[in-house]
């Protein structure tokens, strides 16, 4: 098995990367940001990649970048610009908004987005990527027992939304 070039990988696994990123972030803009960051890291790390489960490697990078970003934002929370009651907020008709409005309602995705990020990462790696608990534990650097707990509690949290 030969190691793909970065360009080949971007095209062949772009949809996979974007799917995982979208499930983790819950929106198109952040998913695009995440995919860009991941592909940059992939570019730097491709030389060290050893042929194996490419999707496992990519999902590891994606999840780590996502969680790193979450932790960074917790350390340095993003603060909205000062409120000014005199301001009338202008509407946005940009491409992002248009894209968002085109998406069908997705209760499952909405429910997923409301999970704590660490729980969401475990659930996505299990139910979207299809990794085993042991693989998830290795990727997230947490004990298997913690994986078990996060996946179950994550799924349990979805219950209220997903009741048919």
């Amino acid at each position: 098995m030969t190691v793909p070039t970065w360009e080949e990988l971007a095209h062949s696994h772009g949809r996979f990367l974007y799917t995982v990123a979208y499930r983790l972030t819950g929106n198109d803009a952040d998913a695009q940001d995440l995919v860009q960051d991941v592909l940059l890291r992939v570019r730097r790390g491709l030389e060290t990649y050893r042929p194996g489960t490419l999707e496992g490697w990519l999902s590891r990078i994606t999840t780590n970048v996502f969680l790193d970003d979450v932790r960074r934002k917790r350390r340095r929370p993003t603060v909205a610009l000062p409120d000014d009651p005199d301001r009338v907020l202008a509407g946005t008709d940009d491409a992002d908004a248009a894209l968002a409005s085109m998406r069908l309602p997705d209760d499952v995705q909405d429910a997923l987005r409301n999970l704590p990020e660490e729980f969401r990462a475990a659930v996505v790696l299990c139910d979207v990527v299809g990794l085993t608990y042991e693989e998830i534990a290795e990727q997230l650097r947490i004990p298997v027992g913690t994986v078990r707990s996060r996946i179950h509690r994550g799924r349990a949290s979805l219950r209220g939304v997903l009741v048919r």
Partner: protein, 269 residues
């Protein structure tokens, strides 16, 4: 079997076949007699089924192509064709010159407004030379971008990473983005009018006003200074700031990207 035992966290692992055989058997037997756990097992099964039926998501059309096209190995050295020195460039010359003056003034303003803060440093604001240089670079790069009709979002040229900023702001179109000393400079244009958004590190009180006929607005939070400078009659500087506020999501991306820049630029970061 311990009658008080309820396999809460093990239920999903049971569904996923991730339990040792003896524990799985315990869980299975328990759920036959415990309605609460049986209910929770069904709920977990439903959630799992819904999650696993989520479809793959297609990235926006052209997104991957754009990323690949913007990768260093695909980027040819930029060159300026003689044509871009023509009418279009001349048309913009007015606001570039004006904005260059503002940028120079801005260097002073940022130094002044941040002078009272313990966090303030000269490096937090652009030096006059850096401001002028950045505008020189900006003018060239904008011309390149317009000439080549690059549809992809601009990127900070020397950061080695994509930089995503709001594509439009107050009716202005983003034409390029640059890393400047300690921050980022975004360039927007609308016809012959221009708008510059500077994000730099440091601290500044809100210091709105007019410099050389160009309104500007300075906002400071969390060690970042956001300055919006515009020109032209009735320049919608405050509208641009409103839109940064309104487009909270993209604004957050802007700030996050800037925070990343600052982190990368800061040895202590």
């Amino acid at each position: 079997m311990n009658g008080d035992w309820h396999p809460r966290d093990e239920l999903s692992a049971f569904l996923d076949g991730e339990l040792p055989d003896d524990v799985a058997e315990r869980v299975e037997v328990h759920c036959l007699v415990c309605s609460s756990c049986a209910f929770e097992l069904d709920a977990a099964r439903d959630a799992r089924r819904n999650l696993r039926h989520l479809p793959a998501v297609d990235p926006p059309a052209g997104f991957l192509d754009m990323l690949v096209a913007r990768s260093p190995s695909h980027r040819s050295p930029s060159h300026r064709s003689p044509s871009h020195e023509g009418d279009r460039a001349r048309q913009r010359a007015g606001w570039w010159v004006g904005n260059a003056a503002v940028a120079v003034a801005l260097g002073l303003v940022l130094v002044v407004v941040s002078a009272g803060s313990p966090e303030s440093t000269a490096s937090a604001a652009m030096s006059l030379g850096a401001a002028v240089h950045q505008h020189d670079v900006a003018v060239a790069a904008v011309s390149d971008a317009v000439d080549s009709r690059v549809a992809a979002p601009p990127r900070a040229t020397e950061l080695g990473r994509p930089y995503v900023a709001p594509a439009t702001l107050a009716g202005y179109r983003l034409v390029d983005a640059y890393d400047v000393a300690g921050g980022v400079h975004l360039l927007y244009e609308r016809g012959s009018d221009g708008l510059s958004v500077f994000e730099t590190s440091g601290s500044a009180d809100r210091a709105n006003g007019v410099i050389a006929g160009h309104p500007f607005e300075v906002l400071s939070r969390s060690g970042l200074v956001l300055t919006v400078v515009g020109d032209g009659a009735g320049s919608p500087v405050s509208t641009a700031v409103q839109q940064l506020d309104a487009a909270r999501h993209r604004s957050s991306r802007l700030r996050r990207a800037c925070a990343d820049v600052l982190e990368a630029l800061s040895p202590a970061g």
